[in-house]
């Protein structure tokens, strides 16, 4: 049942295997493919944006199309690329790090993936059906509620569906981490990546419902004639802004925290030291998550909330610099006195520190409300968030992929290609976005289709576009690396990096059931502890016995597909009431599958202990 065996099956069987899988390791691969695809798509849109802005008053794309590009770039990157790629890492690693054979809700886990995928596909169908959403990824009303066409409807329903998937994923990880830890794996012995997974999932749990409600209200306004955001009916467009940012700000920490977790593990492994100030790191993670819910109005300083609200939110926002700083310094002191080995995973992590620090500091500058009156909605903000998102999240994903690739696929990504990717992407990144800080203050608002000649903005934009091309080259080299490694790469053992945590104590890629015997955890960095005491692997906490595993099922796929159909029904019923039948059919498929799920008992299956011993040594 392990991935190696799956490769020997025919294509159809493999496909069916993946469509029905509830194995977190395979779901991780699905997320990686889905998220990777959307990253390329979002990158392509970014390239189109940059080409349009290469010179003043360019007409590479039309005004309306530009707005579609920038909206879809932001939406795709955040919801369909960054989040799923992070979910790929969480799925691949978290159960292994806590010594679990499975996640708490394998069914929900797979449902979460398919909902994300079908939501994303629904959203992107808009390109071919009369135009993509064009009101920005923030979709501020009333622009979004009054835009003609169906673009924004696709935004609303696509995000609603994929958002539901994310919420399920979040609950799954929370319960997995609480209930499925191996014996001895106390909370304060969990690797930091697992901790960040935990806090991120809690943020998802509390942040996504606000988006859900916001999207419902917007859907009602657009499709059913309600007046939440319509001033003529007594509505108020600022409600959308609040709901969006109550979700939106925690969302950016949902993205960055797992990246922080990756860096913590990578730094510790490749400097051969335990993480400096582990307790403080955990505390800081929780604190960032907590404060993350009290600052959303810093996106709304110019909305006119008044000086009192602006000041409160300004100070609350600045406070986040403290726990983040704690992390930065703890990382530096993890490296301090270590035996630092620099490879691709480490390069991305090391590059993260200055890049993210710059982004964080421009964040604090933005938090100064009176200064934000100038920064807001200019390229300064664009520079800020690409510095934290690309310099933090994307670097983190790259670091994590290089670090865990051998665990996921049993092969190490090529180092030379990895370094080429890194340097082109890194240089391109700074070229693209550093200059944008200045462009913003020189009078270039964001979301501008064209800028005028003679306004001093030409050179900066040209440099920025050149940088973007470097990033594209980097991304393509990475893609090449993945292909070449999967064809030619050499197999490695379970522990290629001299790892410290539990995932390195089992074969690569891990067997279907992860751990033949659950390990006994005796402290932080459990595998390291065993190694320092001269043992090669973990001491088991139980005798070899039968292992209970969940059964594969197609139902999550069917349910998501049903919602996908219903999505089209909702969108088009305004034009023609007969589309309501699509709503009923789609919901019928979805509810029918739910009904089957609840009526049909599914107790999973057992792997007998006699079958376990067949050659799974390290």
């Amino acid at each position: 049942m392990s991935t190696t065996i799956a490769q020997n099956k025919g294509f159809g069987a493999t496909l069916w295997d993946y469509l029905t899988t509830v194995d977190h390791k395979k779901i991780a691969i699905l997320y990686l493919i889905g998220g990777g695809f959307f990253f390329l798509l979002g990158g392509l849109e970014a390239m189109a944006i940059r080409i349009q802005l290469i010179k003043p008053e360019n007409d590479f794309v039309s005004a309306g199309f530009y707005n579609e590009l920038l909206t879809m770039h932001g939406t795709t990157m955040i919801f369909l690329a960054a989040m799923p790629l992070i979910f790929a890492l969480l799925n691949a690693v978290v159960p292994l790090q806590i010594g679990a054979r499975d996640v708490a809700f394998p069914f929900l886990n797979s449902l979460g993936f398919w909902l994300f995928l079908f939501g994303g596909i629904l959203l992107n169908c808009s390109w071919f059906l009369g135009g993509a959403p064009d009101a920005g990824w923030t979709a501020y009303a009333p622009l979004s509620t009054t835009q003609p066409g169906h673009g924004v409807d696709f935004y609303v329903l696509g995000l609603q569906i994929s958002g539901a998937g994310t919420l399920m994923g979040g609950i799954n990880f929370l319960v997995t981490i609480v209930n499925m830890r191996a014996p001895g794996m106390t909370y304060m012995r969990m690797p930091l990546f697992t901790w960040t997974a935990f806090v991120t999932s809690a943020l998802i749990l509390f942040a996504f419902p606000a988006l859900t409600v916001g999207l419902f209200l917007m859907m009602f306004d657009r499709l059913f004639g309600s007046g939440f955001f319509d001033a003529n009916m007594g509505g108020n467009s600022v409600i959308w802004e609040h709901l969006f940012w109550i979700f939106g700000h925690p969302e950016v920490y949902i993205l960055i925290l797992p990246a922080f977790g990756v860096f913590s593990d990578v730094f510790s492994t490749f400097s051969k030291k335990r993480l400096f100030g582990y307790t403080a790191m955990v505390f800081a993670t929780v604190l960032i998550g907590f404060l993350g819910f009290m600052v959303w109005a810093h996106h709304m300083f110019t909305v006119g909330l008044g000086p009192a609200a602006n000041s409160i939110f300004a100070v609350a926002t600045m406070a986040i610099a403290v726990p983040t700083g704690i992390k930065i310094f703890n990382w530096l002191f993890t490296l301090w006195g270590g035996n630092i080995k620099i490879n691709s995973a480490m390069l991305w992590s090391l590059a993260f520190i200055p890049s993210f620090t710059i982004g964080g500091m421009t964040g604090v500058m933005l938090a100064a409300a009176a200064a934000d009156y100038q920064f807001h909605d200019t390229y300064f903000v664009v520079a800020h968030f690409h510095y934290v998102i690309v310099g933090g999240v994307v670097f983190g994903i790259f670091a994590g992929l290089h670090y865990w690739w051998p665990k996921m696929f049993g092969k190490i990504l090529d180092e030379t290609l990895g370094k080429i990717t890194f340097w082109t992407f890194f240089i391109g990144f700074h070229l693209t976005f550093f200059i944008q800080h200045f462009l913003g203050l020189m009078g270039m608002p964001r979301r501008y289709w064209v800028y005028l000649t003679d306004q001093g903005l030409n050179t900066g934009n040209l440099i920025s576009t050149i940088g973007a091309f470097f990033m594209a080259i980097g991304a393509i080299v990475f893609l090449y690396n993945v292909i070449i490694t999967s064809i030619k790469g050499e197999k490695v053992g379970g522990d290629p990096w001299d790892g410290r945590t539990l995932e390195w104590s089992i074969p690569s890629p891990p067997p279907h059931y992860n751990f033949k015997q659950l390990p006994l955890v005796r402290g932080l960095d459990p595998l390291w502890i065993e190694k320092t005491e001269g043992r090669k692997g973990m001491t088991p906490a139980e005798p070899v016995g039968d292992i209970h595993m969940p059964n594969p099922t197609i139902l999550p796929f069917v349910m998501s597909f049903g919602l996908f159909i219903a999505g089209f029904g909702f969108i088009y019923q305004v034009d023609d009431a007969s589309w309501l039948s699509a709503v009923f059919i789609g919901m019928g498929i979805c509810l029918g599958a739910m009904f089957v799920r609840s009526v049909k008992d599914d107790h999973g299956h057992h792997i007998h202990k006699e079958d376990l011993d067949k050659g799974d040594g390290l």
């Binding site: 708490a104 209930n179 409600v213 309600s226 939440f228 009916m233 007594g234």
Partner: protein, 206 residues
């Protein structure tokens, strides 16, 4: 634990809903879900509060709301909370029949509640001409109360399905957690209603 033990346990443990790992997971996961639901309803309440005076020339909350019906609805829902507590009491005592009876009563109360709510909406729409599209207030009112009503409906369907599916085979460690979290859900619906009758109806008429 083997299938046999789960489906036909020799002795029912003290807390059957948490006796298996699946049960524990369901239990915890569902509570977390309720934490998220809290934010969901808060967003709806916040929106309602922000828009409750935006009647756009249409009827206001003072003109619309009568308290008699709401009082009856409240009593029904509160009582259904108690009956579902009884059901869980009997579940823990492994008295399946009694549990089914009390769940049945809960469902009846819930259905009546839903019927009254539909009647209320009908009155507003037909007699007062107050609809989802009348004003921002109308949109917010129907959305908030309707979301709650939708939760009631879903809860009823859920409980009915559970009762029907397990009517023949009785209580076991596989379905006990399902009954338990369905009852948690039902209580949560009541929690939300407490705020609805306070914030929407009572505060709407003073």
């Amino acid at each position: 634990m083997s299938h046999e033990d789960i489906l036909n346990p020799k002795v029912m443990p003290e807390e059957p809903e948490k006796a298996t790992l699946e049960g524990k997971n369901k239990f915890l996961g569902f509570w977390f879900f309720l934490g998220g639901e809290t934010v969901l309803f808060a967003s709806l309440f916040g929106t309602y509060l922000a828009l409750k005076n935006s009647n756009n020339g249409g009827p206001t909350s003072e003109e619309l709301f009568g308290l008699e019906l709401v009082f009856i609805m409240t009593m029904l829902l509160l009582t259904s909370s108690l009956t579902s507590v009884y059901a869980m009491y009997h579940m823990k005592n492994n008295e399946f029949k009694k549990m089914q009876i009390w769940l049945g009563i809960t469902v009846l109360l819930g259905l009546t509640f839903l019927g009254l709510e539909i009647y209320e909406f009908y009155e507003y729409i037909v007699h007062d001409g107050f609809t989802f599209r009348s004003s921002a207030f109308g949109s917010a009112f129907y959305t908030l109360v309707g979301f709650h009503g939708g939760h009631v409906l879903f809860g009823l369907l859920w409980i009915i399905t559970l009762m029907a599916r397990n009517a023949k085979r009785g209580l076991n460690l596989y379905n006990a957690p399902k009954f338990y979290i369905a009852s948690l859900y039902w209580h949560f619906i009541d929690v939300v209603w407490v705020f609805i009758f306070t914030v929407v109806y009572l505060m709407g008429v003073i």
